[in-house]
């Protein structure tokens, strides 16, 4: 660090950081806490911080729904959508970064603009498309929609990473006799691997957490964890204990995954910003 900050500053920034982290993490912590309460404790006013932990909610959740079925669906959709999205985005981002045309900028912005559209706006057409192609409640159907919604972000991220690779290195490859394909696989991909990894991580997380299309396009066969959570907010009334247990079970894997890959993620998301 070039500039030395006074110790009190560092302390204040640290304190602020922790405060924001606690504030952001509180709902998740509260959810995890509630999942270990009995239903009576869960709705007690004032809210109880000290209580007798119980696994009753978990037992009931496991008894009522097949957690592993939903988890496997989510894993399959997240991984599948991410792999297909990368396979499509790498060539697209390569072309945009290294062989730009006059329309490249516009195309990129247009792609991003599709993310600004409220998904509900295209619910009916997408639903009908899925129904008519017999993709309703299938892993393929939801996977395709998840993949397409994330495609703009993935192309954008890869585009930014690829642009950090100096063009002469690829040209050197071409002078050495590499075809476009070899240039991409043997020169570009190894160099952009950290960026591709963080893009993949982000895509997995986005797919995992996606709920709108999950709830609207699946019912039982292909239902992912989002549907699993939703199934516990029943019309007979809210059972916060069970709902929290289900939610905790749904987010736990991705939370652990995110924890272990956070270095890679932060590095990826701030890439280029700190050159």
């Amino acid at each position: 660090m070039a500039i030395k900050r006074p110790k009190s500053h560092t302390f204040a920034i640290g304190l602020l950081g922790w405060a924001i982290a606690c504030w952001v993490f509180f709902p998740i912590a509260w959810m995890a806490l509630t999942s270990f309460k009995t239903e009576v404790d869960a709705i007690a006013t004032p809210p109880q911080f000290i209580f007798r932990p119980s696994l009753a909610s978990y037992h009931e959740v496991f008894a009522r729904a097949n957690y592993w079925h939903f988890t496997l669906n989510t894993v399959a959709i997240s991984l599948g959508a991410t792999i297909v999205a990368l396979a499509l985005s790498v060539p697209a981002a390569y072309a945009m970064a290294f062989i730009p045309s006059q329309r490249t900028r516009g195309t990129l912005l247009w792609m991003l603009s599709t993310r600004m559209l409220p998904p509900v706006g295209v619910l009916v057409p997408i639903y009908l498309l899925a129904r008519n192609t017999h993709l309703l409640d299938t892993l393929t159907g939801l996977g395709i929609v998840d993949m397409l919604t994330n495609l703009p972000i993935i192309v954008w991220m890869l585009f930014t990473f690829f642009r950090e690779v100096p063009a002469p290195i690829l040209e050197a490859g071409r002078m050495d006799g590499a075809s476009r394909w070899q240039e991409m696989t043997l020169v570009l991909l190894p160099l952009a691997l950290p960026g591709i990894a963080s893009t993949a991580l982000l895509s997995i997380i986005l797919c995992w957490n996606e709920s709108f299309w999950s709830l609207n396009l699946t019912s039982s066969q292909a239902a992912p964890l989002a549907a699993f959570i939703a199934s516990f907010s029943s019309p007979e009334g809210l059972f916060f204990g069970k709902l929290s247990a289900a939610s905790t079970l749904a987010v736990a894997p991705i939370l652990v995954f995110g924890w272990f890959s956070q270095k890679q993620l932060v590095r990826g998301l701030t890439f280029g910003a700190v050159k």
Binding site: P166, P168, E171, A172, R174, M175, D176, G177
Partner: protein, 366 residues
């Protein structure tokens, strides 16, 4: 080995013509340097020869074969980039091996070739280092090695020394010249540094605004610049220019009136320059004769380079003239001095910038 021929090569990029019709023949084993100010199109021209840029119009021939639409690697060229452009994820050995591998050369042959080149370039101890672990000079050598192993017909260099510090640049210049003599390959070298151009080239191509200003040997360009641009661009410190007016002219010589109303008889062909024409007289600093009868002025700045001394002399009419003298020459600051302009070293340029043909050739060029 190989000849390279450019026939009216043009490049248009977004409606702008960057290369405006370049015709040039590069002989076998020749070391040709493209030189010019930044933006003159020299790098674009090199990249067009390499195949990294499309050729909008014209023909590019290598060994008599039209290669406009041939892929870079199939043109039999190798290129050394300004930024070295080594593959950062591969060690030195693999950097050099990459092209050979793609060409399908057997492993044993590859290994023998790479070790041979590594020995020539003194890279043997670094074969298993990544580019990031090497110094600038070593990276440069790896880039050259990567070009050499492919045994190309023509070497292309795009400002290869501009990222190195002055001392290393001088050293690499000698190494490159030695290497060229050893490999005897046709070489095209792009630089904006005229010292590199002068010292290494068999033939210099001066470019400006996408047009070839002059092609010739270094001394040809130095002593017989075709126009004002080349005269200004080649030579350091640059040539001095003085506005003059033609008094009388003949095919034998032109008599011009200097700013101080004295006359000078310059031995150039004046058949198209009638009396009264405004011309520009050019003279190199080392040809300005201090303490000889001529223009009067005052010493304003003295730059002592050791072996030589540069005197910046303010003439009566306010113009600054640079005179180069030996290292021992002594003229105190602000002292009055008279500078002679030896006619045989004077160049005359017309209003169109073109030089009037001199009668005498430089002895080394005769």
């Amino acid at each position: 080995m190989a000849t390279v021929e450019l026939r009216d090569i043009r490049k248009t990029y977004l409606k702008d013509e960057i290369i405006k019709g370049v015709s040039l023949t590069i002989e076998d084993r020749e070391f040709v340097v493209f030189v010019g100010p930044s933006g003159c199109g020299k790098s674009t021209l090199l990249r067009m020869i390499a195949g990294l840029e499309d050729i909008t119009a014209g023909d590019l021939l290598i060994d008599g074969r039209r290669v406009n639409d041939v892929e870079p690697a199939k043109r039999g060229l190798a290129m050394v980039f300004q930024s070295y452009a080594l593959y950062p994820h591969m060690d030195v050995y693999k950097n050099m091996e990459f092209g050979l591998k793609l060409a399908g050369m057997p492993a044993s042959e590859r290994s023998a070739k790479i070790r041979d080149v590594a020995r020539i370039l003194q890279l043997e101890p670094y074969l298993h280092h990544k580019p990031g672990q090497l110094s600038g000079g070593q990276r440069q050598r790896v880039a050259i090695g990567r070009a050499i192993v492919r045994n190309p017909k023509v070497f292309l260099f795009d400002e290869p020394l501009s990222n190195l510090d002055a001392a290393l640049r001088g050293q690499m210049r000698v190494e490159l010249a030695t290497l060229h003599r050893r490999l005897n390959a046709t070489t095209i070298y792009v630089t904006h540094d005229q010292v590199e151009a002068m010292t290494m080239a068999d033939k210099i191509v001066v470019l400006q605004g996408g047009v070839v200003e002059q092609v010739g040997s270094p001394l040809e360009l130095y002593h017989h610049p075709r126009n004002l641009f080349v005269a200004k661009f080649i030579g350091s410190p640059p040539m001095n220019f003085i506005p003059v007016v033609v008094e009388t002219s003949s095919t034998e010589s032109v008599t011009v009136r200097l700013p101080d109303e004295t006359f000078l008889d310059v031995p150039v062909d004046g058949s198209n320059t009638p009396a009264g024409t405004a011309l520009t007289l050019g003279i190199r600093p080392e040809h300005v004769a201090l303490d000889e009868p001529g223009l009067a002025g005052q010493v304003e700045i003295v730059e002592r380079l050791g072996a030589a001394t540069l005197f910046h002399i303010r003439l009566r009419d306010g113009q600054l003239l640079v005179a180069q003298s030996d290292g021992a020459a002594d003229h105190p600051l602000d002292s009055g001095v008279s500078v002679g302009l030896p006619p045989r070293h004077c160049h005359l340029f017309g209003a169109d910038g073109l030089a009037l043909a001199a009668h005498a050739r430089h002895p080394l060029l005769a």
